[in-house]
């Protein structure tokens, strides 16, 4: 469950942090009901601004992956198997489409794309 942020990356720090937490949920390292470190503790340990971590946590909350509780607790609510609503599937599709389209336009074969897909999915079981 290690987090490593690169200050020189194009991706903003808060986005990197959110992405890595999401990956931990996807891989099952973080389970439903687990708590994340408090915003303050996370910011102290990483050595970054409190507002950066806070922004990250709020984004995860908006996505419905964590629940922010009083006393600075952040509890994971994602990761469990459940019926997805149609709008949620649609959201994923909308997000995925431009990435796949770009790959296709760059000349990636459809088979290559499928195997890539499979490979990534395997990491999460």
């Amino acid at each position: 469950m290690q987090i490593q942020l690169d200050p020189n990356s194009e991706l903003q720090l808060y986005k990197q942090l959110a992405n890595q937490i999401i990956e931990c949920i996807a891989s099952g390292e973080l389970k439903n009901g687990d708590t994340l470190p408090s915003v303050r503790a996370m910011a102290t340990d990483l050595g970054i601004n409190v507002s950066t971590v806070s922004k990250s946590y709020h984004e995860l909350e908006e996505k419905g992956l964590i629940e922010l509780k009083p006393k600075a607790k952040a509890v994971i609510i994602g990761g469990q198997k459940r019926e997805l609503e149609e709008t949620e599937v649609e959201k994923v599709e909308n997000a995925l489409k431009p990435i796949m389209a770009e790959a296709f336009a760059r000349g990636l074969e459809k088979e290559q794309m499928t195997s890539l897909f499979q490979r990534i999915l395997k990491q999460w079981k």
């Binding site: 469950m1 290690q2 987090i3 973080l30 470190p37 102290t44 340990d45 050595g47």
Partner: protein, 359 residues
């Protein structure tokens, strides 16, 4: 005298080992990027420092023993040995400063910073595995002291008009104090101040940054958690033994009236054994848990905070909400001067010393 000798030996060992006790990524108070941790020049300097300090400590110890065997008055002898101790500490700080400057220069000359990639690292589960003692352990002694103050006031009438407050080396009373509402609780008040500062230190340790390294994550997690756990235990051990010592001292002087010596001196010895022995155990645990950088694969290193340190000794960082940070040289913690609570902590720590001097 034996106690002073014991302190001397332990300080000597401690000063000699210091460069090897801090985390490997900090050498003489300078942050070393992880790929350069095994730089031969750094190893050599650390070795030289230890050799010189061990030499000085050995020399002074011989002087100390000569002093012990010579027919000099005991009062004078202990004064001289304390001066010797301070000279030794001064010499080692001077040596530290010279190596601090050298290390900094080497870092700039060889342009280490240009060849590395700094990253922010942490672990999501580390806060759950952190084993700093809960504040309850540090509240109980405070409650004991408050009870002692109440007990003293309840028995105020039976306390004699003057009571002993100072003893010579042989355990005979040579100082007396007039009874008043304040003077009868001066001892518990000093104790209370120390206990509160310990409470704050433990809380400070709990919330302080857990610094992991980018290339030896597991090892650095282990080191950080060990340092916190045993640091907190050591603090609690000192706290409890000191509480017992002060309670006995207070009870035997004020309530029992002048029966201090037979109780206090054996306990004082026990207190010293706990403090110094505990320190040795703590250092042993620390040196065992220090991470190694056997496999350095990339040019990644954890982001450093050198710009917030003055001479690798004083830390002042407005963006860091922490009260305490681990020292850069030596074991233990130091305050963040940008945190206003630190002044309260310093004041509380200095208060007992000022009280002892001026009362």
């Amino acid at each position: 005298m034996l106690i002073i000798l014991g302190i001397f030996i332990i300080v000597g060992i401690l000063e000699t080992m210091t460069p090897h006790l801090t985390r490997k990524t900090i050498v003489f108070g300078v942050s070393i990027p992880e790929p350069y941790v095994k730089h031969p020049q750094l190893k050599l300097w650390k070795k030289h420092y230890s050799q010189v300090i061990a030499g000085i400590a050995g020399l002074f110890l011989v002087g100390q023993i000569t002093l012990y065997l010579s027919p000099i008055q005991e009062e004078k002898a202990s004064l001289i040995s304390f001066i010797l101790l301070y000279v030794m500490l001064l010499l080692s700080s001077g040596l530290y400063m010279s190596y601090h400057v050298k290390t900094k220069k080497l870092k700039v000359q060889e342009q280490w910073e240009a060849q590395i990639k700094a990253v922010y690292v942490t672990d999501l589960s580390i806060r759950q595995n952190e084993e700093t003692l809960s504040p309850i352990f540090f509240s109980v002694p405070i409650i004991i002291t408050l009870a002692l103050i109440a007990f003293t006031f309840m028995n105020y009438e039976s306390i004699p008009d003057v009571f002993a407050t100072h003893w010579n080396g042989a355990g005979e009373v040579d100082g007396w104090t007039q009874k008043s509402r304040l003077s009868v609780i001066s001892m518990p008040l000093i104790l209370l101040a120390i206990q509160i500062s310990f409470f704050m230190m433990n809380q400070g340790m709990k919330s302080a940054k857990i610094q992991l390294s980018a290339q030896a994550k597991e090892a650095s997690i282990h080191r950080e958690l060990t340092q916190r756990k045993y640091g907190s235990w050591y603090l609690a051990a000192i706290n409890f033994s000191m509480t017992i010592l002060f309670v006995v001292l207070h009870y035997t002087t004020v309530i029992l009236q002048d029966q201090t010596a037979p109780y206090f001196f054996p306990l004082f010895l026990v207190f010293n054994v706990v403090t110094l022995g505990g320190l040795l155990v703590f250092i042993w645990k620390l040196s065992k848990s220090n991470e190694r950088f056997d496999e350095v694969h990339t040019n990644e290193t954890a982001v450093t905070d050198d710009q917030y340190w003055k001479w690798g000794v004083f830390y002042c960082n407005k963006n860091d909400p922490s009260l305490l940070v681990p020292k850069k040289f030596g074991i233990g913690w130091t305050v963040n001067f940008a945190n206003k609570w630190c002044y309260i902590l310093i004041a509380i720590t200095l208060l007992p010393i000022l009280l002892v001097i001026f009362i």
